[in-house]
């Protein structure tokens, strides 16, 4: 019933990823002890794209993924099922972890991911990179790196992939 609207095209996404990669490198002064962790499922492709871009610009850094569904605060309130298995191929102790997600909305998934990542160890710092920040935060969570700020209504759906960002 709602119509689809493309707000970013593939080229826009590519440019945003490049800009975010530069910002991550700049912010972390040479990338010592930095790793990317994509949030299952939507953030995984973006973490991989950022990882590839950072490797191209500077040097490769570890990229992992995390599934936070077992940490969600809405377990039992609505259907949740775990996505793909978490994969953290590096020690988290002392690492600067950049959590990566496609769309930042209420902040609850990020909160769950923060809880999850600390069960792997004690990171030196945790930063947050998202392709789209659509607002409507329900927790005090703010992204460090944003591809695009996108005002939405809460009835809308936002889908962000390498092919573009679509509101419906």
């Amino acid at each position: 019933m709602s119509s689809e609207k493309q707000v970013l095209g593939p080229d826009d996404v590519r440019r945003a990823v490049t800009r975010m990669a530069h910002e991550i490198i700049e912010r972390n002064h040479g990338l010592a002890g930095v790793a990317l962790v994509g949030l299952q499922r939507g953030g995984v492709w973006l973490a991989e794209a950022l990882g590839a871009e950072i490797a191209r610009i500077d040097h490769p850094i570890p990229v992992g993924s995390i599934d936070a569904s077992l940490y969600r605060d809405d377990i039992g309130l609505r259907p949740v099922s775990p996505g793909s298995v978490s994969d953290i191929p590096f020690g988290v102790d002392g690492t600067t972890v950049v959590l990566v997600d496609d769309v930042l909305y209420t902040g609850r998934t990020v909160k769950a991911a923060l809880d999850a990542i600390t069960d792997y160890g004690r990171p030196a710092a945790v930063q947050l990179a998202v392709l789209v920040d659509r607002g409507h935060r329900e927790l005090p969570i703010r992204p460090d790196f944003v591809g695009k700020n996108l005002p939405t209504s809460s009835s809308e759906q936002v889908v962000a992939t390498a092919e573009g960002v679509v509101i419906s």
């Binding site: 077992l70 377990i75 994969d87 160890g121």
Partner: protein, 313 residues
């Protein structure tokens, strides 16, 4: 799913889903802090009408790693004989506010009766000769990971050897393995088979282990209870071992990739006439490890996935 009482009742979709969730739980178990908050505030009560320390510990560990509260209720047969019916026992415990019952009972069917008397989920941790679905789940999960058969067991040749008749493990394994596509052969004399195999999934039956052992992917040995000898089910344990036991000669004839499995506890020198630690294909300790992950998967699916809400709405 509301209950997890048998593999056949759960069906193939749930079986595959639980195996997929078990992958996540196995990953949790490999972490430095193998605990997640998924089932905070849920209470799981282990009610064991029959002793089984291993299974109870496995369920208790699984529940705790999901942050559920656990209670243990060991029901000695004497207290049941004081005139309290099974229904009384269950209704009393249920009144304490239980989200899931984990039931072990020496009588087949007890979990079905119990689920009539409580609104909590019921997980069958073994009932009589009938079913032990979490064992089947961990067995299937062990095969799936050890042989890297995530999609299906199509064409996999599995032999289940020994006392099928009295075995809840065998009944559940047969359902799970055939549901995933494996070719299952039962190896046992008629005395150790159920009176009829009509209602079973397609299985073949033989008494000649040597004829098939060279072509197996999985050799599953059942525990041979020593008292069966006195019931004229086998003439002697020595004869049982010579016909159906894993001897060094048979171990040598197993294909290199073949897995050797056992639900435990083992009868050394009876069904297991070799030292399993010297068998490269033995995955018996992995079975125990995987038991925690699959039980976490079951608990999460019943109490945490919200699937019940979906079904109700």
């Amino acid at each position: 799913m509301k209950h997890f009482r048998s593999i056949s009742e759960a069906g193939p979709d749930a079986l595959r889903r639980l195996l997929d969730i078990a992958d996540h739980m196995a990953e949790v178990n490999r972490r430095p802090n193998p605990k997640v908050p998924a089932l905070r505030g849920k209470t799981v009560c282990n009610v064991f009408f029959e002793d089984s320390t291993r299974t109870r510990l496995s369920f208790e560990t699984a529940a705790k790693r999901l942050s559920a509260d656990t209670m243990n209720f060991a029901v000695s047969s004497s207290s049941v004989n004081k005139g309290e019916s099974l229904r009384d026992t269950i209704e009393t415990i249920a009144a304490m506010g239980i989200d899931a019952f984990v039931i072990r009972h020496k009588s087949s069917g007890a979990p079905w009766q119990i689920s009539q008397w409580t609104t909590a989920s019921v997980i069958n941790a073994g009932d009589g000769w009938h079913a032990h679905p979490t064992q089947a789940l961990l067995d299937a999960y062990t095969i799936r990971t050890a042989l890297n058969r995530t999609d299906s067991f199509d064409g996999l040749r599995i032999a289940i050897v020994g006392d099928i008749k009295h075995s809840r493990v065998a009944r559940s394994d047969i359902q799970a393995f055939t549901m995933l596509g494996a070719d299952v052969t039962l190896v046992a004399p008629k005395t150790l088979l159920p009176p009829s195999l009509d209602g079973f999934d397609p299985v073949t039956v033989t008494t000649d282990l040597d004829a098939i052992i060279g072509d197996l992917d999985v050799l599953y040995l059942l525990r041979m209870q020593r008292e069966r000898m006195n019931e004229a089910l086998v003439p002697s344990l020595r004869e049982y071992t010579s016909r159906f036991g894993l001897t060094p000669e048979r171990a040598a004839r197993l294909p290199e990739h073949a897995l050797i499995m056992h639900p435990g506890p083992m009868n050394r020198g009876v069904e297991m006439a070799v030292d399993p630690s010297e068998l490269p294909g033995s995955v018996i300790t992995q079975q125990v490890t995987n038991g925690i992950a699959v039980r976490m998967a079951v608990l999460f699916d019943l109490l945490g996935s919200g699937a019940n809400l979906e079904a109700e709405s």
